[in-house]
Symmetry: D2
Subunit: 255 residues, 4 copies
């Protein structure tokens, strides 16, 4: 720990005897009862209260990401909850640890491609280039394709329609549509925009930076995991998961 | 792993090629764009879409709990983020692990007292009994008192006023008010209802079960921790925290 | 954050340009190559290098606790590893979060009973009292009984024989044996000392305080979870666990 | 979840009424009291009991990595412990989440370079190439240099001397020495092999695969974090850390 840079500061919050201040606003006079949880989250991260249309779209994305059934994430929460019921926060934390590259990597990967396309001289040309690079490398394009939802992911259709209706769709959604056209042309078949692709574009058009998009997946999933912990309180599944897993992954006796 | 009970089921979610279903509702047709994140969270946990007034109060409680500055929870998130920036979810999880008994124990403790008072024959008598027991044991009453916010916690005042205005305040809030009166009388001085007390009563009157209240603190704090991770991306504080802590907790050389 | 107590210090470690000092000893001159990992762990926690016999017993207890197959803890590690392979530490952390009251509660519960028996005027009388209280309350005695290992848990037999051979067995083991006799007499049948009971007594006789025994379970399991993460790298089980769990816990469609 | 590969198996462990088997060996007859914790860990991961010399070196590396004072990792453990003292495992898990790329990235990075050098036709030529590439890119060579320990990291000297004395040092250590020579020549000054470089080479020569080296850092640090949780039980530092951090990172009021 040698010579240090100038000391850092925080712009997030402070508190006095009479109030708490978040991003320069009075919690008691300007925020409680005045903004929703979603608006407060947006404000916390960006320093700005979102427009009603932006709020509607962030809500829609969080609602979409919240729940997908007994995913690895939900299973981890349930296994930990019943092992340590005194610490509900541990169960939720364990589930969140599974919100990693395999799950949200495609949101971030798609967001990076959209930024690249937006920064290029010509959107259509760059989108074509992106599609060709992925095709040549034999790699799927992040934000495209779905093993189950064919020919189209119904969540993307609903989300993108909503973004148009709310007037939020702009550069990122346009880049996504250009990329979708290029993907179909280059791969020679229709490949759906999946939910992570739609969400990457929509949150980008809501003014949210790419480097924090994973945080929205974490937040949405956090709510779902609280629900799984609650169900585990009333309908414990730990033993069924445990026994089914032992049967599904038998001991092979190899040294 | 001996004889098992009948196999458990889940009521939370399932998915088909065309849709995802959460609590029996179509994600694409009934939820995305139709409910807010807060309403979806309430639905996930209770199986019921909340009334607008309930939604307003859950939003108000989540907004209140989201942020309190550089708490132990926020510090843990920042220390882990800068140590493992490839895994934002780990940083948030580390911070959530600090949402334990020292922080949210009082919400749960207060909720348990309110349930007890509500279940008694006479609210005022039971409230008095509760206050007397705590006084005799030399223990603070969970949900009451605050080292900084004196004579009254401004957040509780705002929250309880809002709950009355929204018509949500009923049994639990009445039990809290009875308890507040008893506390002042028994302790012989005014002790404020603090934010955790107000939130325990209000979420109870919103129909949320006591055993999952910690989950709402976890969710609210999750959003705040995403914000701290984001600030750590741009204004890293890890080295300042590290060096200040080393100075504040020196090595004493004891064997 | 009102008036503070005198500032805390740490006795654990400091570092200079030439060395690191742990518990007052030079890492480079007195520890690396001079003590085993187990001895270093004991030194870190107690400030004292253990005797060879104590080391042998701590090793034996850690070896016993390390691995139990595809437990909830190992399953959580594997689910998280394959979801976020970029962060092996997250996978291990998720598994450790399951080392809670349901798993190590009995080590701590047994240790508390042994302390109580040791602190009483007469060991046999207090042991009898403990057994009778549990019988009357219809509760199992922590550290006793096992659903599979009947009539005796083979691990306890080996561990306790080793503790006698090493000359480590003293007060805590004697209290455990007295309790075992009382349990058989009071419950009217033989109930085995299980591995957690033996470990609670042996670590106690090794001079390790009850409040940190959970830490030894955490450490032993940590090694096992690293091994499960490593196997998941080469023989991924996530999909088999996921699919088996979805089949074992079906959606019931209840609202 | 479409068509699946052949079902996975586990080679780690199984259990019967009479015993537990780990890597094909009887826990009760072949492991408890027969192998140390370090040997058992090595066996768990590789399927082979290490030689005494390998054990000595793994012990030495784990001892070296265990403790470095009030690091971000130790601070996270202490902050979480005092926030949720009911869940010691959470505190340790929080600290482990900080064992990420910033801390152990260099072990993995150095191990990858050593594998590359070992796989080349000529060790010296490839080492020179590696050094030149890093110099040209303006990047430090992983495993080399230390801000405090100059001109040499004393831990590396002790560890490498021990590896020679134990007869463990072979290809990886030779590659590290060749790289050290090339680094000094190419950068035109002496840059020390640091502890992470020495450990990467030594664990490699002990037969441990590069992809699990992070697991050894996690395990070593786990023991240290249990010790920090234990000190936090007796000399709580949370408030001192909290207050010092608030002073070190003041609120700037920016919106």
């Amino acid at each position: 720990m040698s010579s240090s840079p100038p000391p850092p500061t925080t712009s997030i919050a402070t508190h006095t005897a009479e109030d708490v201040f978040v991003r320069g606003r009075s919690l008691c006079r300007e925020l409680i009862g005045k903004v929703t949880f979603t608006e407060m989250t947006y404000l916390h991260i960006t320093g700005r209260v979102p427009t009603p249309a932006e709020t509607a779209m962030v809500d829609a994305c969080l609602v979409t990401l919240m729940e997908h059934g007994l995913t690895p994430s939900a299973l981890a929460t349930r296994l930990v909850y019943s092992s340590a019921p005194e610490a509900l926060q541990s169960a939720v934390a364990a589930g969140l640890l599974a919100v990693g590259s395999a799950f949200v990597g495609t949101v971030e990967g798609c967001a990076a491609l959209l930024e690249r396309i937006l920064g290029a001289a010509d959107v259509a040309t760059e989108a074509r280039l992106v599609a060709e690079e992925h095709r040549a490398a034999g790699r799927p394009v992040p934000g495209f394709g779905h093993p189950e939802h064919k020919p189209d992911d119904p969540r993307s259709i609903v989300l993108l329609k909503l973004a148009e209706a709310q007037g939020v769709a702009s550069g990122h959604v346009a880049a996504l549509r250009a990329l979708a056209e290029a993907v179909d042309a280059v791969f020679g078949k229709h490949i759906t925009i999946n939910a992570t692709g739609a969400i990457a574009a929509i949150l980008g058009d809501c003014g949210l930076p790419a480097e924090i998009l994973r945080g929205f997946a974490v937040l949405a999933r956090c709510a779902g995991l609280v629900g799984h912990a609650h169900e585990e309180q009333h309908k414990p599944a730990i033993r069924a998961i445990w026994e089914a897993s032992e049967r599904a992954v038998p001991y092979d006796g190899a040294k």
